[in-house]
Amino acid sequence: MIAIRVLDDDRVIREIVTSSFPVTIGRAPSCTLVLSSLSVSRVHARIDHDNEGLAFFDESRNGVYVGLGRVASRVPLTSKMRFHVGDATIEIEPVLGDAATVELKTPLRVEERRRGALHHVLCALSVACATGLTMCLDTETWSPWNNNRAATLVSGVMGGAAGTVLVGLGLFVLYKALGRRLRLADVFHTMALIAWIFPIAAAVEYLLYYALSPSALGRITPWLYTLSMVVVTVAIAGIRRARSWRFVVGIAGLALAGLAALDWVQATTAQKNGEPAADFTVQAPLGSWTGPVVSLDDYWKRVSQATRDAEQKAAQVEAAQREE
């Protein structure tokens, strides 16, 4: 006999106890356990006895995952195990004897709502703290011309929290519309975590400013933010979903492609408009350390190189005019 449970956030929401094999799991109505989600194959998996005993067989194209790893096509079932089938999580437990069904005692929705309310508050607090820290790490917040620093901070923090709620609601509605099974708490939970990526990125950038030359910094900083955005995208896309390697790499790839496209559009527009890439960044010194310097003579050499580059561009403009 075997017990198959469908879990939602560690809670059992459905359970089948059966002793007639094979047991099939899939989207098709003929399956023993029907999971009506597009992420599940028509017949996604099968549980049956073979020569070596009771085993779980992956029959799907998209695979079955345990944690982030895809399972082999045959998994021996000796004890309680958890699998991700599409975006559903199931628990399979071989049961000895004629054990009865599991009673779903508590009305789940009430319990969840209660947990959700506190959860939402904690999430909002987390976002507020992260936003506040990001602002504190920004020297502009402390500018002497900023006469209303407290107001700036409070409004920034409140704006961050309110923005998170709005974006969270939007994501929730979007995912619901796309058919993903999730709760608002899942979205807020993820956003409460990813909000901390920004102060971390700001702190790393601040430290990097003193470790690197301006040109190296100019090359690395965009990557720092690209990396942050990729992590954010993967986290948001993976809300309440089995996060396989394939999924992570796929979403990260999509995010990178999107960011690269945006970057290309910006760079092309800037080039077309002739916007200069003039870097005027300065940071408050770290103690007395102002970062690596080059001598004035070496700097003049760089100016000479820039002159040659500008003259080459001018010559190209002239050549283009001649052709016309």
Partner: protein
């Protein structure tokens, strides 16, 4: 800040009122009642000089329309007319697109460009078959304080005369300019300035921006120089451009040579204190302005020291060339080290607000896009973040506009900002000038 703006607008409004008032007055009454001797002479001159004074127009070929307009005066029996370079510069830039015309009550027709002097802002053109008396040229400038009369055609409305006083040569800048107390108007550029004996002592050239009656003229010696030169320009586009490049090069060399000599000689000049930073005063060629403001609530004091060469030659498509602008600013904190972190919160924005790099998009076909290099560089016993941008001239290879901005990084009680803006210089000249200018910081 807003008070400053208000003051500037008030001055501007006052200047406009005075200028338009004088203009209307001059149109209605050609003579000045309180100076009967000079007034009577003006009336005679007004009548007798008419045929020798011209309106110079740059035409795009359409019958009665003009692209730019100025004045000019006959200086020889074979039809040579003196005007300003800036009156005919559109033609010099695009001789295929434009043509030159001159006219007055007696004569009207096309004219040829003979020669020009970009640095002093003069041009010589020739009108064929003009039967008029050339104006006599004085050999030298009169003494300061003498009465002068200026002629021209303001806005193309008709021959006008303005009386004023010649005050001597302006003391600043590399281009010699006559300082005149008279309200010249646009369109009078290129008209003659006559001394008390009726001989030409100069040519109208410009007015002081935001002032109500300060005008400038080109000394007559520059007309003598132009007339003495034997060459005649070939009006083909390539030849005109080559000639302009040659003159730009000459202006640049002369400017660089004089500035370097002056900067090298100024090692004993007094010290200028700009808040928490000090520098050696710049040579007399520069016109400098000093300003400071205390922001008590913000706990910061701002000091600035700006210098420039008051007069620079100007190209029609590139603006001022052979010009150098210097800025030194200092922000001192009232309670260091408190507020030091925040000081860096506005320095990048401050540097950006001072740069012309962000605002000047490369003009179509005139300059290259900006190329910028930024690094941390130690000089004047501080560490600085230095950003230099270059924008090369398309029509004049080897010349460029440079802008160097530097923000100090390690002053314990504040921060300083330095900017050198140099237009129309060769790389070597810019480097030589910048090295010397940065060395004035102490």
């Amino acid at each position: 800040m807003s008070r400053k703006d208000l003051r500037a607008s008030l001055v501007l409004i006052a200047a406009t009122l005075v200028l338009s008032g004088v203009f209307v007055w001059a149109q209605q009454r050609p003579s000045l009642k309180n100076d009967r001797v000079s007034a009577g002479r003006s009336e005679t001159q007004f009548r007798s000089l008419g045929p020798s004074l011209f309106t110079i127009e740059v035409h795009s070929g359409n019958d009665d329309s003009k692209s730019s307009l100025g004045s000019g005066y006959l200086v020889s029996r074979d039809g040579l007319i003196v005007t300003n370079y800036h009156v005919v510069s559109d033609f010099i830039d695009q001789p295929k697109r434009y043509m030159l015309r001159a006219k007055n009550g007696d004569w009207e027709g096309p004219v040829e460009l003979v020669r020009f002097d970009m640095f002093n802002d003069l041009a010589l053109i020739r009108a064929r078959d003009v039967e008029a008396q050339p104006l006599p040229l004085a050999r030298a400038l009169p003494a300061g304080g003498s009465h002068v009369t200026s002629f021209g055609n303001p806005e193309g409305l008709g021959l006008s005369v303005i009386e004023g006083v010649f005050n001597g040569l302006a003391e600043k800048g590399l281009v010699p300019r006559m300082l005149l107390s008279m309200p010249l108007n646009s369109g009078m550029s290129g008209g003659p300035i006559l001394g008390e004996d009726g001989a030409v002592i100069g040519t109208n050239v410009s007015v002081m921006r935001d002032s109500n009656s300060l005008s400038f003229g080109v000394p007559v010696s520059k007309v003598h120089d132009l007339l003495a030169r034997a060459d005649v320009v070939d009006a083909s586009p390539a030849k005109l451009r080559a000639e302009l490049t040659r003159q730009l090069s000459e202006a640049e060399q002369q400017t660089t040579r004089r500035l370097i000599a002056a900067l090298d000689a100024s090692s004993k000049d007094p010290t200028v204190h700009v808040g928490g930073v000090a520098m050696r005063a710049l040579p007399q060629l520069f016109e400098c302005w000093d300003d400071s403001e205390d922001f008590k609530d913000e706990g910061i004091a701002q000091h600035e020291f700006n210098c420039n060469l008051d007069f620079s030659p100007e190209l029609s498509d590139l603006g001022e060339v052979s010009g150098v602008w210097w800025t030194l600013e200092n922000f001192s904190l009232k309670n260091p080290p408190r507020g030091r972190f925040g000081l860096f919160g506005f320095l990048p924005g401050h540097a950006k607000s001072h740069t012309t790099v962000e605002s000047i998009a490369p003009r179509n076909g005139v300059t290259s896009a900006w190329e910028c290099v930024a690094d941390r560089v130690p000089f004047a016993s501080r560490a600085w973040k230095v950003t230099t941008c270059v924008n090369a001239f398309v029509k004049h290879p080897g010349f460029a506009t440079y802008e160097l901005s530097a923000t100090s990084l390690d002053e314990p009680t504040g921060a300083s900002f330095v900017q050198i803006h140099a237009r129309g210089f060769r790389e070597a000249s810019f480097l030589e000038l910048s090295k010397r200018l940065l060395a004035t910081l102490q």
